[in-house]
């Protein structure tokens, strides 16, 4: 076999849950290790192979000046760069700071605010460098991660749909929690791919996979209001794991100002 393609896994502002999904691919781990050279993956091994890398998986959002420099260096070393998870694709939950004065937040949280050196925003990887592909979710779906690696290795397009969660629910035969129970659910404006986790357990989708390809968040917000959700809570619903994703950010803005 020719030289194995090299894989690097990078971390920015994040909880590590998404890169952990790679280790969670337990049944496939040996096959993956056989097929790719894991060149940089500090969560798994301190052994580091110098770049460049064929595939870089980038977890986390950009929150410091150092991050801005580092992601550019990573981009230069990476043939194919994939942002993984809500932090890397939508700024993550930490993007709620984008809607407040960051110094006030630091003062409220840290005993020594002067030790903290941060940007005023948390932003997605694509806001700083070109990104070749994105995996959504908080955390990502390990099946989609495997599919991504599998597709790259076989020179085919990854099967990662960008339509709504509703399609996934209906294919699975899940009863709609919004229509049948009156539970406000972000599924109609949220990208599918989680494996139907929350609605499959009678819970509303809270949008951790971020906006669909063409999200009508205004109609969604009107429906939530009709179901009794207060304006402030509509804003909060869009201000979670993907608070800084375009459609969710602007809908949150509209309701926060209202």
């Amino acid at each position: 076999m020719a030289t194995k393609p090299t894989l690097a896994v990078w971390k920015f502002a994040s909880c590590d849950g998404c890169q952990l999904s790679l280790l969670d691919l337990e049944d496939h781990l040996l096959a993956i290790a056989d097929t790719v050279q894991i060149a940089y993956f500090l969560e798994a091994t301190r052994a580091v192979i110098e770049g460049p890398y064929d595939v870089s998986l980038v977890e986390g959002s950009i929150t410091t000046a150092n991050d801005v420099d580092r992601i550019k260096r990573i981009r230069k070393q990476s043939r194919f760069l994939v942002a993984i998870g809500a932090c890397a694709t939508g700024g993550g939950i930490q993007a709620v700071k984008n809607f407040r004065k960051v110094d006030d937040l630091i003062g409220a949280v840290y005993a020594r605010p002067d030790f903290v050196d941060t940007l005023s925003t948390s932003t997605a990887i694509k806001d700083h460098v070109p990104v070749d592909f994105e995996l959504r979710g908080c955390p990502i779906d390990r099946g989609q991660l495997f599919e991504l690696l599998n597709a790259l290795l076989n020179n085919r397009k990854p099967l990662v749909p960008t339509f709504s969660q509703c399609v996934e629910c209906k294919r699975a035969g899940t009863v709609c929690v919004m229509v049948a129970h009156g539970t406000p659910c972000l599924g109609p404006v949220t990208q599918a791919g989680c494996g139907n986790l929350c609605p499959g357990h009678d819970r509303a989708c809270y949008g951790c996979f971020g906006p669909t390809e063409t999200p009508n968040t205004a109609a969604m917000a009107r429906r939530m209001a009709a179901l009794g959700v207060a304006t402030r809570d509509v804003a909060l619903a869009f201000r979670s794991f993907n608070a800084n994703a375009d459609a969710f950010r602007s809908e949150g803005d509209r309701h926060e100002r209202a």
Partner: protein, 397 residues
């Protein structure tokens, strides 16, 4: 006497025990009996082992974007109408394996999936659902009705079953259909205006009408096939009397009167003539483009093909999965998707369903079941959208 002619055989009456025995008989004959079950706050289709599994006494109260179960006054087993599932889930499953391939020295071999064909008995099939199955029979080339248009057929389906779907055909051939005539309609029902219900007029093996009240709980049984006659023969039954038939007719009249919604007449020509209309932009303000209407529609049949591989690329599979014309990918061709605007996607769906379907398959694609109204998260109403366009044309024609 042709048993395939509805009403050709005298109808009979069975009681609750008789229905229980019918389910047992079907199971004993190797059928997996699927019928209405209470699950997750809705009445869905699932395995039924006896009448105790049926949603006794439950009603489904439906409106645009809303479905709620309520306790009815009595112990009826079929007082509900249609739920979020449709029978296409079983006849045309959301995910179907098409073939598998293995790479072998210098070449590859392809094998068809050899899954056993399931043998289903559908219990509680409503008239609108029989109509939907008949429509899908034509779509999948089983029963190709000649198109009503003068235009020459442009594809295999319209040309008369050139492209038979073998998976659908195999599953369909094994199905036993136990219909139930509705004695009640939801507010979302409009079968009367589509001429598909509420009473089943054929295409079933047995049709039941629940006769309940005045101290009795029985079912009028009508037979429309040899299988149906055989099944009835195994059950304790008595001949139907005039009073039974009148009670069943009263149930049908009740459901008919409860059809509150109606499709505007001439909708096929209406939509054909209004490809450009401000209503498309207006509905796009409300439409989430989520695809729910297409998923719950008992006749929507679109799928996409997905190829999978293992990591080594030695093993590949091709799958067919339900798709929706509301996704961008659906209309993606070289250069990009054709229908980028939600207005174009909504127009495409409703116009295909109510208008272009006639040219393609010789009938409307809509059966008036109302699922797309109920299960639309924002309650967009196909009858209302058609009516709005009709009303914009001036006085009703």
């Amino acid at each position: 006497m042709d048993p395939n002619e509805p009403g050709a055989l005298p109808s009979a009456v069975i009681d609750r025990d008789g229905l229980d025995a019918l389910i047992a008989t079907l199971a004993a004959r190797g059928y997996q009996v699927l019928g209405p079950r209470l699950e997750a706050g809705a009445i869905v289709q699932g395995p039924v082992g006896g009448i105790d599994d049926l949603p006794e006494g439950w009603l489904d109260v439906q409106d645009g974007g809303s479905y709620r179960l309520e306790r009815g006054a009595g112990s009826a087993l079929f007082a509900h109408v249609v739920g979020p599932h449709s029978w296409k889930r079983w006849l045309y499953p959301p995910k179907q394996a098409l073939w598998r391939a293995e790479r072998r020295d210098g070449g590859f071999t392809v094998t068809a999936p050899d899954e056993a064909v399931p043998r289903y008995a559908f219990l509680g099939v409503r008239a609108c659902e029989l109509a939907a199955i008949a429509i899908q029979d034509r779509v999948f080339g089983l029963d190709a009705a000649p198109p009503v248009t003068d235009d020459p057929p442009t594809d295999g389906a319209a040309a008369g079953g050139t492209f038979l779907d073998p998976g659908y055909a195999a599953r369909r051939a094994e199905v036993a259909l136990i219909a139930v005539n509705c004695g009640r309609a939801a507010s979302t029902c409009f079968c009367v205006s589509m001429d598909t219900g509420p009473r089943a007029t054929g295409g079933y093996d047995l049709a039941l009408t629940e006769l309940i009240g005045d101290g009795r709980h029985e079912f009028l049984v009508e037979v429309a096939s040899e299988l149906g006659a055989e099944l009835l023969g195994t059950l304790a039954h008595r001949p139907a009397e005039t009073a039974d038939i009148k009670a069943a007719e009263a149930a049908t009249r009740r459901a008919t009167a409860q059809n509150r919604r109606a499709m505007v007449p001439g909708v096929a020509e209406l939509l054909e003539a209004n490809r450009e209309h401000r209503r498309w932009d207006e509905v796009a303000q409300r439409c989430l483009a989520c695809g729910n209407c297409t998923m719950v529609c008992p006749t929507c049949f679109c799928t996409t093909v997905e190829d999978t591989t293992d990591l080594t690329g030695r093993h590949a599979e091709r799958w067919r999965v339900w798709d929706s014309c509301y996704s961008l990918e659906f209309s993606y061709i070289h250069g990009g998707p054709v229908r980028t605007e939600t207005s174009a996607r909504y127009r495409h769906w409703i116009t295909h369903k109510l208008s272009a379907w006639h040219q393609q398959f010789g009938s409307s694609g809509c059966t008036g079941c109302g699922r797309c109204i109920t299960w639309c998260p924002v309650g967009i109403d196909i009858t209302e959208e058609a009516r709005a366009i009709r009303d914009s044309q001036g006085p009703a024609r």
